[in-house]
């Protein structure tokens, strides 16, 4: 039987990434949507960079940036905090790596909300905050759900970045994708198959679950109108 720790690590990493990015990206996307500036496309292009950068390149730069020999790594080290070769490190890396996958669908969602929906809500005496929580957010539920699924799937399958910055350490940074690769390299194909199968079933179930929650949410939206 295979060691299940890499699967658990992958799940933990993906779930924390989704939660943190949701907290960061929903306000960020709303702010970007409301921001009327010519520089907006520059910001959007910048946060989309992780999509085009090869993961190993991103991993390599993060490794050099946070290495204890570097300035930033040195500063962190004085606080006894090391980002490379730790779970916090791969979490940080996957937050950066998956940021566009969380941000962009939500941003497109906000963009698609018509202005009259805001105006309608304001004329009915709702505050900005109430409008956001009760009108706008439920309206983009599908976009948010898409973001969650993309981010989750992207993090579960992450390989290059984690390999570079995490160092493949068992129980700390050896996630499922690395474990599969390791088993393959060691010619243990049966273990590699087992890991792949567990990963597949697990990811599929969780994505189904997201979809199910999303559909229930959609049912609630309809009652608004």
């Amino acid at each position: 039987m295979v060691d299940l720790e890499p699967i658990w690590l992958s799940l933990k990493l993906a779930l924390i990434t989704v939660v943190v990015l949701a907290i960061v990206c929903i306000p960020m996307a709303f702010y970007l949507n409301q921001w009327k500036s010519k520089a907006k496309f520059l910001v959007e292009a910048f946060v989309s960079l992780p999509i085009v950068l090869p993961p190993t390149v991103l991993g390599f730069y993060l490794l050099v940036l946070f290495s204890p020999n570097s300035f930033l790594g040195g500063v962190l080290a004085t606080f006894n905090w090391q980002l490379v070769f730790t779970f916090q490190g791969i979490l940080f890396a996957s937050l950066i790596y998956s940021l566009p996958f969380m941000l962009l669908p939500i941003l497109r969602g906000f963009d698609a909300v018509p202005q009259h929906l805001y105006n309608l809500s304001y004329t009915l005496g709702k505050s900005k905050w109430q409008t956001f929580i009760h009108i706008i957010l439920p309206n983009i539920k599908y976009s948010v759900m898409t973001s969650f699924i993309l981010t989750f799937a992207h993090t579960m399958g992450e390989f290059g970045v984690i390999l570079m910055i995490g160092g493949n350490i068992p129980g700390e940074t050896r996630v499922a994708s690395l474990a599969i690769y390791d088993e393959m390299e060691a010619l243990n194909y049966s273990n590699a198959h087992t890991y792949s199968f567990i990963l597949f079933v697990l990811s599929f179930t969780i994505i189904l679950l997201f979809k199910y929650i999303g559909r229930k949410g959609y049912g609630l939206d309809k009652s608004i109108f």
Binding site: K12, L15, I16, V19, V20, I23, F60, L63, V64, S67, P68, N69, G73, Q82, V84, F85, T86, F87, Q88, L91, L163, M164, G167, N168, I169, P170, E172, D182, M184, E185, A186, L187, N188
Partner: protein
């Protein structure tokens, strides 16, 4: 809102329960792909004898060196060739000069029953070699082909793999007919061997070396592990895995 708060609490719990690994009675050894079979076995024997947990981390020597230079918490590094370990010594990342633990030989492996070295030269099937840029066995294979004046003739049939583990994958899945690989990855108990092996008449062998690294503490334990590798017991495991001395 309640859901969000619940998620936040779960998240904080998850992050806070991370264990920081300091100098426990535990060793982390970084091992070049070609040495992984033997080192897994040595690690098991060492664990049994000294009741110390040994974590084995495998990868290409080049990547492991990059990570060591950037502070990876590895105690010991087993390198597929001397150059990488010397680089670490020059960068003052290792405690001592590298020690040779044994050598592996370049071989040709095939799963096909009508394979032969003659067919390798004249056939049409693909041949896998490890990347000569960073894999020692890839460099050796290319050098061998050049020495035998076969490189020009065979170059269109060569398939470049990341390292010899990938060469082994290509051969074992029969994506290629021949693969230039290492004796060290095939001659061990854990792998149920199939096919035919052709030794090559080259007098070069690739010496693997071990160094203790400076990135972590517990130097005594590192020395103990290195002396275990070169002890009689470690020596026997290495021989069983195809090492020559």
């Amino acid at each position: 809102m309640k859901v969000i708060i619940n998620l936040l609490v779960t998240f904080l719990l998850m992050v806070s329960c991370n264990t920081q690994q300091d100098d426990k009675k535990e060793l982390t050894i970084a091992v070049a792909s070609s040495a992984q079979m033997a080192m897994h076995e040595i690690a098991l024997a060492f664990e049994k004898k000294y009741k110390t947990k040994v974590k084995v981390i495998t990868g290409s020597s080049g990547r492991l060196v990059t990570q060591i230079v950037n502070g990876a918490p590895f105690d010991i590094f087993i390198s597929a060739n001397k150059a990488y370990a010397n680089y670490l010594f020059d960068k003052k990342r290792s405690l001592d000069k590298p020690i040779i633990i044994g050598s592996g030989a370049l071989i040709v492996w095939s799963l096909d029953s009508n394979s032969s070295l003659k067919d390798l030269e004249t056939g049409l099937d693909k041949i896998a070699v490890a990347s000569p840029k960073h894999a020692p066995y890839g460099q050796q294979a290319i050098q061998f082909l050049k020495e035998k004046k076969l490189y020009e003739k065979l170059s269109s049939r060569l398939v470049y793999a990341e390292n010899i583990s990938q060469v082994n994958e290509y051969v074992s899945m029969q994506m290629v007919k021949y693969g230039f690989t290492s004796s060290l990855t095939l001659l061990n108990n854990s792998f149920d061997f199939k096919g035919r092996v052709f030794p090559l008449d080259t007098n070069q062998s690739i010496a693997q070396v071990v160094v203790a690294l400076k990135n972590t503490k517990n130097d005594a334990l590192k020395q103990l592990f290195i002396s275990f590798i070169i002890s009689k017991e470690g020596h026997n495991i290495l021989i069983k895995n195809g090492y020559t001395f």
